[in-house]
Symmetry: C2
Subunit: 196 residues, 2 copies
Amino acid sequence: MADITTRERIIAEADRLIYENGYEHTSFADIADAVGISRGNFYYHFKSKDEILDAVIGKRMMSTEQMLNAWAAQSSHPAERIRSFILMVVTNQAKIMRHGCPVGTLCSELAKLGHAAQPQSNQLFSLFRTWLHQQFVLLGREADADALAMHALAFSQGVAVLAHAFNDEQFVAREVERMCAWLDGIVADAAQVPAI
Amino acid sequence: MADITTRERIIAEADRLIYENGYEHTSFADIADAVGISRGNFYYHFKSKDEILDAVIGKRMMSTEQMLNAWAAQSSHPAERIRSFILMVVTNQAKIMRHGCPVGTLCSELAKLGHAAQPQSNQLFSLFRTWLHQQFVLLGREADADALAMHALAFSQGVAVLAHAFNDEQFVAREVERMCAWLDGIVADAAQVPAI
DNA sequence: GTCTATACCTGGATAGAC
DNA sequence: GTCTATCCAGGTATAGAC
């Protein structure tokens, strides 16, 4: 009811702080201060730190699905949809250079912590993986659609880690160009298949 | 003199624990227990947690330089040396799948923490970057040697992040094969240049 | 050089008043 | 629903005996 607002504000601030500073490095006090509530009030909405993490991952799952659906709606051409994914590292360049990829850095941190929510955070990767898989199938690459999807994911993660470390805009631009050329090659192959 | 042993054992255990569990998640107690000394004794060797981190990064810098020198010594062909780098994700596959890339995960974590040692950890990346740069120059690619070096680094980081998240051996093998083919293409280009 | 003991702080979590 | 007060565990760091 009325408390949805506060709960959602907590999730939004926790989402931001976890992205910017890491999960372990984000304390209840940090989140409470950001929202503007007391530490005690916090526990009315979330009983533990793990519960906030679950809520944040859930929110990210929702927004990721919305983004993927929007990409699919914007274009009926699977190659254009995949290009939207590739261009994401440019679209979010400023944030990536500051804080890395929100998915990659969270998964890496939770893995190091041996955190129970690790499989859930990996689901964020899987969301992209299966979506990319579908697009490559539509391009006529049923046989290796998953391998191509993983390659595209690896591209995004490699670029994100190094952009984060070196703060190099031109590097990102070069890698995106290279990746788009790779995609063009796959589209050209797909166009030839019916002719064989 | 005699205390070198204890100091080095501390660094070695800290190195391992920071890699396995992350810097922030590794406490003095963890390291002291692993070494088999008391917490108090710890401070005889290192005055702060930052000092251990510096020592660990220093040790990693040394061992990385030794590895790069060994690769250069093993083969006089720059393409073979670069191949040694590409194959590193297979050589260290088991550890990477468990804990990710030691360089990438440390740099990402220190960046999130806003830690003062961030530039030093990035130097680990730079060590690979400049070494790869040199090898590509030897292949006759002075013009874009750094771009190629960064591409090779991005490959290794992308593979490491996803191998860590998904624990997929075949994915690593596929990406390594793809990367070796890419390298072969560069070598073939280099062979053609004198003929033009 | 190594130990025990301890001071001090931060962070997660709870109790109970309003 | 929100607050203050408080407890407790764990982590950094120091003091001082051996």
